[in-house]
Symmetry: C2
């Protein structure tokens, strides 16, 4: 990334925002300004002072890049003025993900789409990112027919307050939860996973059936997958393909704790699905705050800056 790029981090005091800052620093970026709601304005984050995130402030901030980790309604209000003021905006909310003209990008899968932006690039849902990374090499090799996925999502996916609640909750009260909006049939999270996977993989008709569950784990999401492919693919071949795919690491038993702090998505338990003609069963885990959110967004930015530098 250009050393002189002015980077704004909006939602800097949240769980994803803090990891974003940590990763930017790790990667040597120093010109950072941090924004959050009026509640946190004035707060210190290391040597930075939190500025209030308003449409006016972001419109006037002269940022080159702006990373948003706020809710969808805040993104709808804050992203457009920042983009109009010339900042390349990478938004981690669901606000723009399915909008025409907004690329929805996982660099390892469809990085080339990022350049087709008009100032906004969307970062997919924390479950859609690792799912697309595991599905893409299978799609390329043998085509995809159907996908079923059961998720094991950590408290971190619900934000830092949810993490705090889990830390304070007696173990006897630990439970599975389905704490997403519900339309009477599907959880919003489940429809997001379907629609986003279809968009990222450019398979608008791909059947994806998801069941989303929050588990009492602090950080790290996992997913049990069943994938039916167009052509047959043995588990050994699948394992070889996935072992060579960018951003993936083979692991016998991928787990959230093992994935925490890693950049890679762990994938394993690759075996035949006896319940299908061309079927595979797999299991994945990833750090939902890093590759599931902050890291993916920073990788999008770095990709775009590299491609600008190359022009």
């Amino acid at each position: 990334m250009r050393d002189d790029a002015q980077i704004g981090v909006v939602g800097a005091t949240g769980a994803v925002g803090r990891v974003t800052l940590e990763l930017l620093r790790e990667r040597g970026h120093e010109s950072i300004r941090v924004f959050a709601s009026s509640r946190s304005a004035g707060m210190r984050l290391g040597d930075l002072t939190v500025e209030e995130a308003t449409p006016e402030a972001l419109g006037a901030a002269e940022l080159d890049i702006c990373l948003f980790s706020v809710g969808a309604s805040a993104s709808r209000e804050l992203v457009p003025p920042a983009a109009r003021a010339g900042a390349l905006c990478v938004d981690k909310s669901s606000a723009f993900r399915l909008q025409d003209g907004v690329p929805l990008v996982v660099p390892e899968v469809n990085g080339e789409r990022a350049r087709e932006n008009s100032g906004i690039v969307a970062n997919p849902n924390c479950c859609s990112i690792p799912l697309a990374m595991v599905l893409a090499p299978l799609r390329d090799a043998v085509g995809l027919r159907r996908v079923r996925v059961a998720t094991y999502q950590s408290a971190a996916g619900a934000g830092s307050q949810a993490m705090q609640r889990l830390l304070e909750e007696p173990v006897e009260k630990h439970d599975l939860r389905m704490d997403w909006d519900f339309d009477g049939v599907e959880l919003e999270e489940e429809s997001k996973i379907r629609a986003e996977t279809q968009k990222i993989l450019e398979l608008p008709e791909l059947p994806v059936s998801a069941t989303c569950v929050r588990v009492p784990v602090l950080v790290g999401h996992a997913e049990a997958l069943w994938v039916e492919t167009e052509e047959p693919l043995g588990p050994d071949q699948a394992q070889m393909l996935l072992g060579e795919a960018p951003g993936l690491r083979l692991e016998q038993f991928p787990s959230p704790l093992a994935a925490t702090g890693l950049d890679e998505v762990l994938v394993g338990r690759i075996r035949e699905d006896h319940a299908a003609e061309n079927g595979l069963a797999l299991f994945l885990a990833c750090d939902n705050l890093r590759k599931g959110a902050a890291l993916n967004a920073i990788q999008i930015v770095e990709l775009l800056l590299r491609s600008r530098a190359a022009v």
Copy 2:
């Protein structure tokens, strides 16, 4: 149950053994003797003194009924002498489940098979019991083609030491685990679920693909299911069928904590699986110490005593 039946509880100091005792007392059974390994012999359980479980002791104990909640190798050693001495043995381990001539029974599903015993009736795995209860009404109505299941299994399924470890473990260390024997392809738990479901449902060829995961929840197992049926069945019809089925209770979001202490299996999230022609997605939760283990075994005993009384 006959008031005068002499009941032995073997493995009485374990997680399932303790619930067995509690349930027997709740149901008014007073003539109980408790057995466990030499380590626990002499220990007091309320007003009962733990006797050492040896083949000789059980062979000489003159029990009418003997409920075993010990590991498979201990069951292999202890169950046959007790059965030879005339006790009706209900074994909760995997030792005899798939053996010809040993009925594998979920009373609501195949209770009539229990009478075909030669002294031993096997209690299925804690995940197979609720799974069979949800699948049986669907099998009867429209036939089953394929089943996929991702489990969310609690610490209680691994015994009281595992529960203690979870209680003492810092929340930051909570993780998903796959702590079962592994043959390089499947976990033993996954093959058990397939083979037992096939036997209980009397569908020896039914494709069942399971992914088993231990979650940091103290008590209560949950399962995300995808079921393909032979004939179409709408989610509303499926919900009606399951709502009327014995031992099931409809719940919008079944969870382990909500299921804990209940006799019923909770089932919900009943919806179309868009990734299949005749497909349903569902979610279930049950108290793995009660219906998943101790309660199911006691129900088997009560069923047999009722049928003897009726003869």
